[in-house]
């Protein structure tokens, strides 16, 4: 019996909702990060036909109504969707599971992560690349010694922005994986449920406070990190005559 039926939520219930939210957003971002970096790298460095189209596709989850995103996820990754069925053969189920919520969170966060990363990568001086190329470093070495460190503030900023978006994700999640307490009920969904249950007002404000607390901590941590990194890099930046 969950707390909606009991009529009141204990601290443990609230803790569980918060932890589930963190897990869903965390795992979603963890999977989104490498994909976002690859996409940002391709968009920043690549010269190919259809670059604008790819860029627009990546931005889709940001501009589409979240419900539509959820619906598409359901149709593709759901129990009856093509990829969902294929993954099912390996025992991976996304529909109506927290893993599906993580997928939804990662997907809507993706455009927000890609954009600052792409801008940071585009800001790396191409002449530095040439200088390192001549010094004997191939593309992958340059990625490690040049792109990653110089783009790090952008990567962190993008990650944090994406994380905040993932924490607040609602529409796509509820459409794709429903609102199942203990499985897919994240903070946002729990706030929604509490609003609908009589006498849930106190719970609403508790959950809102937690949700805001997590966001504020996240943003502050990222701000501090970005500032420190930029300061270190700028102190070392070569002044060109």
């Amino acid at each position: 019996m969950d707390f909606w039926q009991r009529g009141e939520a204990s601290i443990i219930d609230i803790l569980q909702i918060s932890l589930l939210s963190l897990r869903v957003a965390g795992v979603g971002i963890l999977f989104a990060l490498p994909i976002a970096f690859c996409l940002a790298y391709i968009l920043a460095r690549g010269k190919f036909v259809g670059k604008a189209l790819l860029s627009a596709l990546i931005m889709l989850p940001l501009v589409m109504p979240p419900v539509v995103t959820g619906l598409m996820l359901l149709n593709v990754f759901g129990p009856l969707g093509p990829i969902g069925q294929w993954l099912g053969q390996f025992g991976i189920v996304l529909g109506f599971r927290w893993t599906g919520a993580a997928l939804a969170a990662g997907l809507v966060a993706l455009p927000l992560i890609v954009r600052p990363m792409r801008m940071a990568l585009e800001n790396v001086d191409p002449r530095l690349h040439e200088a390192l190329k001549v010094a004997g470093h191939n593309r992958w070495r340059r990625l490690i010694i040049l792109d990653l460190p110089l783009a790090m503030p952008g990567i962190i900023a993008g990650t944090m922005l994406g994380f905040a978006k993932a924490m607040g994700e609602f529409g796509a999640t509820i459409t794709f994986v429903a609102n199942i307490p203990g499985e897919t009920q994240t903070l946002s969904l729990a706030i929604f449920s509490a609003l609908q249950s009589p006498g849930g007002e106190q719970l609403v404000w508790t959950l809102v406070a937690i949700s805001m607390g997590i966001s504020v901590v996240g943003v502050v941590v990222s701000e501090v990190l970005v500032e420190r990194l930029s300061a270190r890099q700028n102190s070392g930046r070569v002044k060109h005559a």
Binding site: L128, E130, L132, L150, R232, V238
Partner: protein, 349 residues
């Protein structure tokens, strides 16, 4: 040896270069925008030629329109106009980036003056210091070829002189081809022994200073004909007169700031040269140098251009056709060239 025979086109600008670079310093000179830096970038593989070949020590880098060896495998050292160093790493780290598997030699750090900068962050370096670090990085991996793209152009006069001096010492020990792009002749004269002249995207002359810089216009504007001979200052007398050794002979010129041991280039105007069969006596001109007539060319307006081989370098003299006839000037004839110290224009570092 580096053998380059390439064509390239970028927008309206087309470049075609056919030249060889032996171990030693070659200055790639020419006005701004003639394609010197472009040629360097093509050799480094930073840009792709349209066609042709680039062969380094017998190994193809670029062949029949295809790059055989990518830039990062060419073992090149390159110094750019401004210091392209990694801002988040120290000076030592930046030098290490050029070293590959090689150990950085202490003498390299000392010669470039980087030994005192090693722990500094890159951001605090002056322009001159940045170029020192760039040179150390370029040489740290014992490259097969060193390319320098106007490395001093962004520096102030004082640091330019210092770094030029440092480079002259370092280049003297290198046994690889060094290509030094510059548009200032003074730099080229101080650092290089070979000159490659570029004009409008093509190499128009290549060789010693005398071959490249002697200006022989195709028209009959004979007043503009000059030749350049190379020599080394062997002695300064009374701090006003420099004795310049040219092969086994000597010329005397006003010092104009040269030091003993400096390599100097003397421009002699063809109209100022006097030719003589015998060494004249009691004459104010101080310079009488023996040579051998190499070639006579008739200019349309009654003048003859006489090219005299002096210690392996050519000096042009302009005389009347009548004079050439009366003196019986002919190839292989031993002859003295006579010129006033005051008529020598010297181009030096």
């Amino acid at each position: 040896m580096l053998e380059v025979d390439i064509k390239s086109r970028r927008g309206d600008f087309s470049l075609s270069a056919n030249c060889k670079f032996k171990p030693g310093v070659a200055a790639l000179i020419g006005a701004s925008g003639v394609g010197k830096s472009s040629l360097l970038r093509l050799i480094a593989g930073l840009d792709k030629p349209k066609s042709g070949t680039i062969i380094m020590n017998g190994a193809p880098w670029f062949l029949d329109g295809k790059s055989i060896c990518p830039t990062h495998k060419r073992h090149i050292g390159m110094v750019f106009q401004s210091g392209l160093l990694l801002p988040h790493r120290s000076v030592l780290n930046n030098i290490e980036l050029g070293a590959g598997a090689a150990n950085i030699s202490a003498s390299l750090l000392e010669q470039t003056g980087c030994d005192k900068l090693l722990t500094r962050p890159v951001g605090g370096l002056s322009g001159g210091e940045q170029q020192r670090v760039m040179l150390a990085r370029a040489l740290a991996g014992n490259p097969k070829l060193l390319l320098l793209d106007e490395p001093l152009s962004a520096l102030d006069f004082q640091s330019r002189l210092q770094i030029q001096e440092m480079m002259a010492q370092i280049f003297a020990q290198l046994k690889i081809p060094v290509i030094y792009v510059t548009h200032t002749f003074e730099e080229a004269a101080r650092l290089a022994e070979n000159f490659v002249l570029m004009q409008n995207g093509t190499i128009t002359a290549q060789g010693r200073a005398s071959e490249v810089l002697g200006h022989v216009p195709a028209t009959t504007q004979e007043l503009a004909i000059s030749s350049v001979i190379e020599g080394r200052v062997s002695l300064i007398e009374n701090s006003t007169m420099a004795k310049v050794q040219i092969g086994r002979q000597f010329a005397e010129i006003a010092t104009g700031g040269v030091k003993t041991g400096d390599r100097v280039y003397l421009r002699l105007w063809a109209r100022d040269i006097i030719l003589a069969h015998k060494k004249p006596q009691a004459i104010s001109a101080r310079n009488m140098i023996s040579g051998r007539v190499e070639k006579l060319s008739d200019l349309a307006n009654g003048h003859v251009l006489v090219e005299v081989n002096v210690e392996g370098q050519n000096v042009s003299a302009l005389v009347l056709s009548q004079t050439a006839m009366e003196m019986k000037l002919a190839p292989e004839l031993p002859i003295y060239i006579i010129f006033k110290s005051a008529s020598v224009e010297h181009i030096h570092s």
